[in-house]
């Protein structure tokens, strides 16, 4: 019986990992292309949740999940064009400071617009409750989440690896100078990547709102986990991030099974161990210009 319980935690951990992934992927994407660690990523996640509440109140949950990432993605264009673009080739400390400041401004702006008190956010009633498959208990809503994460992840992978767009982006990651020599302007690609990144973060916010709390600091909270996942996976590696997200979810589940009080510490211990053994992260690629 003990084994089944443990297995249940592992499976639940995989589901949980799925939704860390939604945030970590965008973060990793923006870093690998622009060389910028976007500390404001969590702010787009929070905005996604707040915008989806506003849209959901008027048009319903389904519309909110689609419209909110689109609106926040549009904001991403301004973010890239006006701000991020200036820092691609600057000292990384500058982009860190700028995105960190933006995260604070965004959090306070949310506080001013919607107040510090958390907003009630509920899921459509048909998603409530759980399914038991064999001995395992699944929340219906989380299974739905997992399906969406899977679709988003596949779409991103296909976009990056099977299209002309993806080829330019991947070439730009390794050798921006060569891409320039070939007469391709990377700037529109950068804008597109940033938009994709922040839109997936906003999608995360819209989807997680109903199971956690929609409050101004939600972005800061999730950023820590997302950043840990990206570091464990290896900055810039697609599959590394996928693997790390699942690993963090599973390790947290197993830790809580045996020692609940240590649950939150487990991912930091994992990060520490991984960095000791593989300083570049699990599947971190060697990117010449970052070494």
């Amino acid at each position: 019986m003990q084994f089944v319980f443990l297995l249940e935690q592992v499976v639940n951990g995989l589901v949980l990992g799925g939704y860390y992934l939604l945030l970590a992927l965008g973060l990793s994407l923006i870093f690998s292309v622009g060389g910028v660690v976007n500390l404001a990523h969590g702010a787009f996640y929070a905005l996604g949740a707040y915008v989806s509440l506003e849209v959901g109140r008027r048009l319903g949950f389904g519309a909110a999940v689609v419209i909110s990432p689109v609106l926040v993605g549009l904001l991403g264009i301004a973010f890239e064009r006006l701000l991020l673009r200036r820092f691609y080739s600057a000292d990384p400390i500058l982009s860190l400071l700028v995105t960190f400041a933006l995260a604070m401004v965004a959090e306070q702006a949310i506080r001013m617009i919607w107040g510090a008190a958390p907003l009630p956010s509920t899921m459509p009633p048909q998603f409530k409750g759980s399914l038991t498959l064999g001995d395992f208990l699944f929340s219906r809503y989380r299974l739905f989440l997992l399906a969406i994460v899977f679709v988003v992840m596949s779409a991103l992978w296909l976009l990056l690896h099977k299209t002309a767009f993806g080829r330019v982006v991947r070439a730009g990651v390794q050798r921006p100078d060569m891409v320039a020599v070939l007469g391709i302007r990377l700037q529109p690609y950068m804008t597109a990547i940033v938009v994709l990144g922040v839109a997936t973060a906003a999608l995360g916010g819209a989807l997680f709102g109903p199971i956690t709390i929609v409050h101004p600091a939600m972005g800061t909270e999730i950023m820590t986990v997302a950043f840990v996942v990206v570091v464990i996976g290896g900055l810039g590696s697609f599959w590394g991030v996928v693997l790390a997200a699942l690993l963090v979810g599973v390790v947290r589940g197993i830790t809580i099974h045996f020692a609940p009080a240590a649950g939150e510490a487990s991912m930091y211990v994992l990060m520490f161990l991984v960095l000791m053994l593989r300083p570049r992260g699990l599947l971190g690629e060697r990117i010449e210009r970052f070494e």
Partner: protein, 416 residues
């Protein structure tokens, strides 16, 4: 996309990120301007973190009280100047308290919701021989073994919360002979709550089959929910705090587990954030916005008019606390620490907008007042998003002494 070699490296990026995330933990002080003749009151409360939502209500409450007092001519003809700051965490709270005393020259310190921060502020107050009115912190230890002559406690201690909700649970038949599983917030307040809850269950024939500690920043409870399902308890009794309670309640509803839920700590703001349809069970509270006393009705009406939403219990408690402080200063015609302590210790009566008046017990400085259990209205009966909570009668009952549910002198470790 031209890069200069060595200008940006993964290592530097990581190091910079770590530095910035670390700097996050230290709050930024606010600029404040005031005239010297005003009576300055240092007000610390968490405005960020897992208790931040409650802190916002706290600031609204104390601000409204200050405006009313000042509009009526102030205290001894002097205006009150309440400087509210984010207490962030116990270390920052203690630093800011010290600074408020030394540099800003505050007459008294007030505030706090986080029990661990209240403890460090109370130590600063004792060291500097200044009065600290600890308003929203509920740990038993604060008024027990950690009590001191300079600190007064307004909110109900955890023993009262456990007794208030516990009696209702016993009446529902959810304690005697039942298996009880608990989740406990992993900090001073949670530990205290868990201790009081275990004592209550043991005394009333309940069997505690599990009690797990949960870090305060946990937002995903699914692994804990699986553990609860595996344990198959009759009752899930939570000793959680702040955002934890809301997250737990929402995810418990999401998974749809069949076991009864109750808890010994739920502020109305946390309940409102959970939303109708997610919340169930029996909980305690120190005050609620539907209390039918003339004082509470007037307060709720004024607050709703000013802020566009009904007051939460932390707004109420800060409001009445500043009024009590103003009463003490007016009566003693002084802001002198010893005179104020003597006034509060005289067990002077205060109107705190409840049916019965309240007073600070002289030997542990705990305010004696009524509490209320609450549950949730049947589906479809709520008028609006604020209205789905159903509040019970005051405990102790009208004919019982106010001290009935509080720790007795024999049980308390307080020695001043």
């Amino acid at each position: 996309m031209q890069t200069k070699p060595g200008q940006r490296s993964r290592r530097r990026a990581l190091r910079g990120t770590a530095a910035i995330v670390g700097a996050c933990a230290l709050g930024a002080p606010r600029l404040l301007f005031a005239q010297t003749e005003k009576i300055r009151i240092g007000h610390l409360t968490p405005l960020t973190g897992f208790l931040g939502a409650l802190g916002e209500y706290a600031v609204m409450g104390i601000k409204m009280a200050a405006e009313e007092i000042n509009a009526a001519g102030g205290v001894m003809g002097r205006q009150l100047d309440v400087m509210s700051e984010d207490s962030v965490n116990p270390q920052v709270a203690s630093t800011k308290a010290q600074r408020m005393i030394e540099r800003d020259g505050v007459a008294v310190l007030m505030g706090e919701i986080n029990s661990a921060s209240a403890l460090t502020i109370s130590q600063v107050a004792a060291r500097n021989r200044k009065l600290f009115m600890s308003i929203g912190a509920r740990s038993d230890a604060l008024r027990g073994k950690d009590c001191n002559r300079f600190t007064f406690h307004v909110d109900i201690p955890v023993t009262v919360m456990v007794n208030a909700a516990g009696q209702a649970l016993v009446r529902e038949g959810l304690v005697k002979g039942k298996k009880i599983y608990s989740l406990t917030a992993d900090y001073l307040f949670g530990h205290d709550l868990s201790k009081a809850a275990k004592k209550f269950f043991a005394a009333n024939g309940g069997e505690q089959i599990g009690d797990e500690l949960v870090a305060t920043d946990v937002t995903d409870f699914s692994p804990y929910l699986l553990k609860i399902r595996q344990a198959r308890p009759d009752l899930v009794a939570t000793n959680l705090a702040g955002n934890q309670v809301t997250n737990f309640v929402k995810q418990y509803a999401e998974f749809g587990l069949p076991f009864a839920v109750a808890g010994f700590n739920l502020n109305t703001a946390d309940a409102w954030a959970a939303g109708e349809g997610n919340l169930g069970g029996i909980w305690p509270t120190v005050w609620h916005h539907e209390l039918p006393t003339p004082g509470s009705k007037a307060f709720v009406a004024a607050f709703t008019k000013k802020y566009g939403k009904p007051p939460e219990n932390h707004a109420w408690i800060e409001y009445v606390s500043l009024k009590m402080m103003a009463q003490a200063m007016s009566e003693t015609r002084s802001t002198d620490t010893d005179k104020l302590i003597a006034y509060f210790e005289s067990e002077a009566q205060f109107d705190i907008l409840k049916t019965r008046k309240a007073y600070f017990r002289s030997w542990d400085h705990q305010l004696m007042q009524e509490a209320y259990p609450f549950t949730v209205k049947p589906k479809g009966q709520a008028r609006d998003k604020w209205d789905f909570l159903k509040f019970g009668d005051a405990v102790p009952g009208a004919s019982q002494p106010l001290e009935l549910l509080a720790p007795t002198r024999a049980e308390s470790a307080c020695k001043m």
